[in-house]
């Protein structure tokens, strides 16, 4: 129980990318939290592809790569005893299109870990990406993410999906 609580606290702090215990409950709150934290990363770039193509790729790849379940197992030490621990994660991407702006929010649910605060429905927010047109043949993309966990891999994948339609899924194993 103590170990689960510790894992929960670590997840809470690490995933919000800010070191505080206040969990962002929406993409808007996540942007604000990451933007104001030295632990978070905000990356902005222009992809040389039309907005509609970028959104289409984001939708397809997010659905393929980020609406997945993962199982990880590794050795953890309890005192001097080595034990195998297995954890399950369910990722959930949500793509929202509003006029000429698209938002991709990625959440992760770690199952029954004990956490001391309210968790958004669908899990912790770990990344939010915004796409807007930048002329006829380019798209401005801004990625907000925490600095730990798989958010870095997912952020790199979102960048490659925005710039190329043929990119693969990020490795969420292990």
């Amino acid at each position: 129980m103590k170990r689960k609580l510790a894992v929960g606290l670590t997840l809470s702090a690490a995933l919000c990318g800010c070191g505080s215990l206040g969990q962002p409950m929406s993409p808007t709150e996540f942007r604000q939290t990451v933007g104001g934290s030295s632990f978070g990363t905000v990356e902005s770039f222009e992809a040389a592809r039309p907005y509609e193509q970028v959104v289409d790729t984001l939708r397809k790849k997010a659905n393929e790569c980020l609406a997945v379940g993962t199982t990880s197992s590794g050795t953890v030490f309890q005192g001097n005893m080595a034990m195998r621990e297995t954890s399950h994660s369910t990722y959930k991407p949500t793509l929202s299109v509003t006029g000429q702006s698209t938002e991709l929010a990625v959440q992760v649910d770690f199952g029954d870990h004990t956490v001391v605060q309210k968790v958004p429905e669908g899990g912790f927010y770990i990344l939010v990406a915004d796409a807007t047109p930048a002329g006829a043949n380019a798209t401005k993309v801004t990625i907000y993410r925490g600095s730990l966990g798989k958010a870095k891999e997912i952020g790199a994948a979102v960048r490659s999906w925005a710039t190329s339609a043929s990119a693969t899924c990020p490795n969420l194993n292990g």
Binding site: N63, C65, L95, N173, G174
Partner: protein, 166 residues
Amino acid sequence: MGRAALLFALILSGCSGLKTYPNALDKNATIHVRTDGGTLLSRTGIALDLYTVDPGCGTQYLGTLELDDSTIELGLPLDQQVRLAYVFSRDALVGTSGTTVIELMVTPRRGERYEFDVDYLKQGYTATGRVFPAGQASGKDIEHSRLRDCIPQRSPASATAFLVSG
């Protein structure tokens, strides 16, 4: 006997619960597989679990195929919703091991052809599919949908519906 020893014994005796998909139906799908086999300290693998899904979202496990670096001809059952779960696994000697499952749902009809591209390479993995209607050379992408998004149908005559997130 401890639980771990019992599990190990069950696996050794072939009682892990997995069975090989018979793949005896007329071949209507092709899977193109690319893997790089992992590294010195880790091994990667891809398996395909096949299930039928009924209108109430219940599943029946049909079997599993281990996918190696090759092209595989597959016979999918006709006129039933079929769940294809591509299981990407990484076994590490040091550090963490894990699996990720990418799901696709299809309802094959007579004459249709399916093509799947499945890669597990250093930079990541992918599982995509295209369906080609009877007699047509151009196909369309298969949307990814998952069992957990399945909505049970009250009327037995209607088809199973799925919500796709995003």
